[in-house]
Symmetry: C3
Subunit: 437 residues, 3 copies
């Protein structure tokens, strides 16, 4: 990216660059639980260091790319995350272990089959899985990605994920497949009692995509995504095997999730399938994705409930962004996703430029309810969020974002509990201050 400081050897075959990004969020919620049974009852207005990354990236002897990037920020900034010992407060950070190794991988690019480019990679990496995730967090038009993609990625892709795999691409097509393991910081020990040792999970992802149409000032992208959780982590003390799907309400000033399945018992595997479409027409950018989730519940754990039927969830989002100052988002073939807005006239009181200004809107829905008429169902809630955004790209490195969100959560208890409206609605306004290189 712009102005990233890089040191190369004289022959240019070896380069080390320093990369950094800070995303600092300030905002407030007007959160309205539908009843006293709604959880949570409150959200915190305030601030959060959403991302604070420092790292080194580069290439060694032309063909070997590498990265080591650490994120000091997170959903609740600060290290740690030990929240509680049973019900006894521990006096440290809530929000979970959110800082971590963002990237620690090697990527070999020396093979170039079929007239395209190819990367064979291993380590901890951001997988270009879902189109939303494939666009850098420095470039996305909203402060947070849509819930459906976040929930999908967290199963066997997403941040801090260990993986081995390959991607191939040319100017039009992209295809990638990865075997994935646990995230950094997950439990590595089979033998501890507290916290309980677990086995390490494994899964896989695949994605094919292409910029099927492209012209001088327009383009169209289509793609398909698949993910498999092949072996969930197994708690070796309680002998349980669970999976939790949840997300925050597309804003993370308060790290609390509004929709959550809780720990689904006896999960033997999960599959996620999705389709993606996007396009540009001059300064207009549109994008949408749909994902369908299947969760199998027949793990052999001897813990009730035994062999319940599978669960299905789904969600989607659709968004449009328009750059008032006329710039276009360019396609990035290496990730099969569109890039960010680079201002033609960076803001300068001396030079007279005003940077680039963008407006954007999104509707996003994630439904974590299934079989809610039955005690064997899951009532995780259905969240719908409408977001409006105004983004100011000061120059190629600095951006300010202003988001307004209106959201509703439909939620209820499962039978035999009596029906109760445990949903909520909220409005929120938040602002991000960002630099990156």
């Amino acid at each position: 990216p712009n102005n990233r400081p890089t040191i190369c050897t004289a022959d240019g075959a070896n380069c080390v660059a320093i990369t950094s990004r800070v995303h600092w969020d300030v905002g407030g919620y007007d959160y309205r639980p539908n009843s006293a049974g709604t959880v949570p009852q409150k959200l915190d207005s305030g601030e959060n260091v959403r991302r604070a990354r420092i790292g080194v990236v580069g290439k060694l002897l032309e063909d070997w790319n590498f990265a080591l990037i650490y994120d000091f920020g997170g959903t609740a900034d600060g290290f740690g995350g030990t929240g509680a010992a049973g019900a006894v407060p521990v006096g440290f950070l809530p929000g979970g272990g959110t800082s971590g190794i963002e990237n620690a991988f090697i990527s070999y690019t020396g093979l170039k089959p079929f007239g395209g480019k190819m990367a064979i990679e291993a380590g901890v990496m951001d997988l270009a899985w879902t189109m939303d995730e494939s666009m850098s967090s420095n470039d996305i038009p909203f402060m947070e990605r849509a819930s459906v993609g976040v929930i999908a990625q967290n199963i066997a892709a997403g941040d801090f994920r260990s993986a081995v795999g390959t991607r191939w691409y040319n100017d039009v097509f992209w295809a990638g497949a990865y075997a994935t393991g646990p995230t950094t910081g997950a439990i590595h020990s089979a033998s501890t009692a507290s916290p309980p040792g677990t086995s390490e999970q494994y899964g896989a992802t695949a994605r094919v995509a292409g910029q099927v149409v492209s012209g001088n000032d327009y383009s169209m992208h289509l793609g398909a995504d698949a993910q498999w959780l092949i072996q969930p982590p197994r708690n070796l003390i309680a002998n349980t095997q669970t999976l939790t799907l949840s997300d925050r309400p597309e804003l993370r000033i308060d790290p609390t999730t509004l929709i959550s399945t809780g720990a689904i018992p006896n999960v033997s595997g999960a599959q996620v399938y999705g389709v993606e479409a996007a396009g540009t027409y001059g300064p207009l950018f549109v994008q949408g994705e749909y994902y369908w989730f299947n969760i199998d519940r027949n793990a052999n754990t001897a813990v009730a409930p035994i062999s319940t039927s599978s669960l299905n969830f789904q969600g989607y989002y659709a968004e449009a962004a328009y750059v008032l100052t006329g710039e276009s988002r360019k396609y990035n073939p290496g990730n099969a996703a569109y890039g960010g807005v680079k201002p033609t006239n960076p803001f300068s009181l001396a030079g007279g430029g005003w940077g680039a200004w963008e407006v954007a809107g999104r509707v996003s829905q994630m439904d974590l309810n299934d079989k809610i008429a039955s005690a064997a169902g899951i009532a995780g809630g259905r969240q719908t969020v409408y977001t409006l955004a105004l983004n100011w790209y000061v120059n190629g490195n600095v951006r300010f974002m202003l988001d307004y969100l209106h959201g509703t959560v439909s939620k209820q208890p499962l039978p035999p509990a009596a029906f109760a409206n445990t949903g909520a609605s909220f409005d929120a306004v938040a602002m991000r201050t960002q630099f990156a290189f």
Copy 2:
């Protein structure tokens, strides 16, 4: 600073520099509690990585300064800080979550009103609030700053603090005002039960200062400081709203605090006001500050005691330093504080230089006792510390410090408990090994 490695674009408009500092302390205490009722009964001699920072700083398109700096050290080096779950040992680090994001901010300097310079800044930053804090920790004549300033800053300024504000300055005057939020790592969640969710605090700081007299080899600085804790964090489970004022005995080999108010209940707000004066005459440097604290205790929490009277505390320090080798401390108008000692002849066995040598002395007092004749008072203790220092500035990046401290703490229980002398006295010797760029 000296020898900071910096990479700029060819036009010089964009620069990224790497910054680092290590302060490594070794020392021992002779600590003498006045009675068996004194807390603590012991202090640990030993070592501590007081500061270990790596970060990137620079400018983007001339007017946008940025910084991301992480401190891996701390009062008790190492991450974590979870000390206890109730009374059950957790087996990890004491001393609190002391590592954290030191700086993560953007500062815009494109406006230059009234013939001066101006910075509009947002993010996590070190606020130039109190004169002691406005001098870099690489430059202060003693290993630790005086307790009165540390206690004042920790209320709504200090390290790891989120803030938005502005400062304006020219060669003579400086004025700055900031709205401040919580520190990184503070609780962001309103909805957790353990640890209990809290609301995020907010406050504000203001400071005006000027180098009112300056000549060829002398100068004088005067200033005034104000700070407001407008909304203390509210514990949303226990419904409490508290504030704790405390500090270590101006040395942090052992992270234990000797004076502390404990958690003052029902704090609705706090104000701190102070004055500062400093000057140089050739190699002589003198500085002093006085701060007055008011703590309001009428928060509406339904937790006793209800609406107690306000508390007042105060403290001061006065210090003098003399550079035996003749160098002077220069004034830094951007922070309205004096800078460090740059040796004219850096130490070199080959070159014959001996670096710069400085002697310094300080008397510092902080009184955290108020209304101690009454059960509604606070008996936090009154600490007086005398410090002598010998500093060797090897070159522009390396410094060794040797401090001797003699301190006394006057402390007693509040009535109706019988009077007891729970104070202490101590002597300590410590040495710092430092490099920075």
Copy 3:
């Protein structure tokens, strides 16, 4: 090392370089406990970010070297490590606080007595103590160092260790001695109750070594090592003074240790003495070390058992490596150890090189059993591991390692418990992906 990006001042007297290393491990165990009484009963196959370091190193005014390096990886990657509050799960990372400050020190090299070089150093550093530790983890022929050295170093040397000392060397001889303190992250407080405050430990190390024979394509190294734990940390609540010797089975995908003395009570001090020998003959490299441990148990703690007899443990390893492509390991006089394999023809599909290929084998034994016929003995177990390795040095910065391990642990309870075979055996295969500069 190769391609480390470095920025110097024009006169070359001041340089700052960026250093980084990533070691990412994937592997699996076939672990077979000898009985149901064996602890542990299981090991986790999976992955681990073994090392993930970023730091700055360099020199200031020619004679002052410095380093600040942080390791974000660890035996269980990720920060934290709070494992349990009593028996209550805390829900965070197992494996202990394994991330930390790897290096934070200053080293002065301006004195050059007796025609050699000398470094006087202070701070947190890797001590060149044991020959295995003196070879960089980027260069060692196996994924983990032999247990005997790891256990020896962890007493009063090893990673994250605070130390002050000096080393002197010329092309043939090396001698070094250091006073050492606690590691970063150890308890600094004498006064906390949970976790219990401890005093800080101190100890010392000494090593003399020499490349006693060297010719055009052969060389031989001999050395002797000594270490003293002078004052173990004392738990100031329980009044205990303990030492634990343990290690993982020369692979750390699962962080569980197989052999461990447990916390030996009433330890008043410990001494370790060892000898080392190594040599090269063209592409052949051989190395071995033997260490003998004495643990004194007459600390005055008033906690039983009082003044028990001393304990003795011992261990050794012997290894050989052969570079199939003909490269030799060069001697590094500054650490008195051999360096790594630098491929003559780095791998390149374009250039036709295949890098360097190395095969290696090691036998390693550590015996933590002593006086096991008596209740006053320690039955920590005797571990024997055979390792075969195949290493591919792609270029000067990238390496892949494949290790096969076969190990056995002989273990039993102490009397009066009935004899039981609580040992185990295992086979393991693991692969490391590595870059470093």
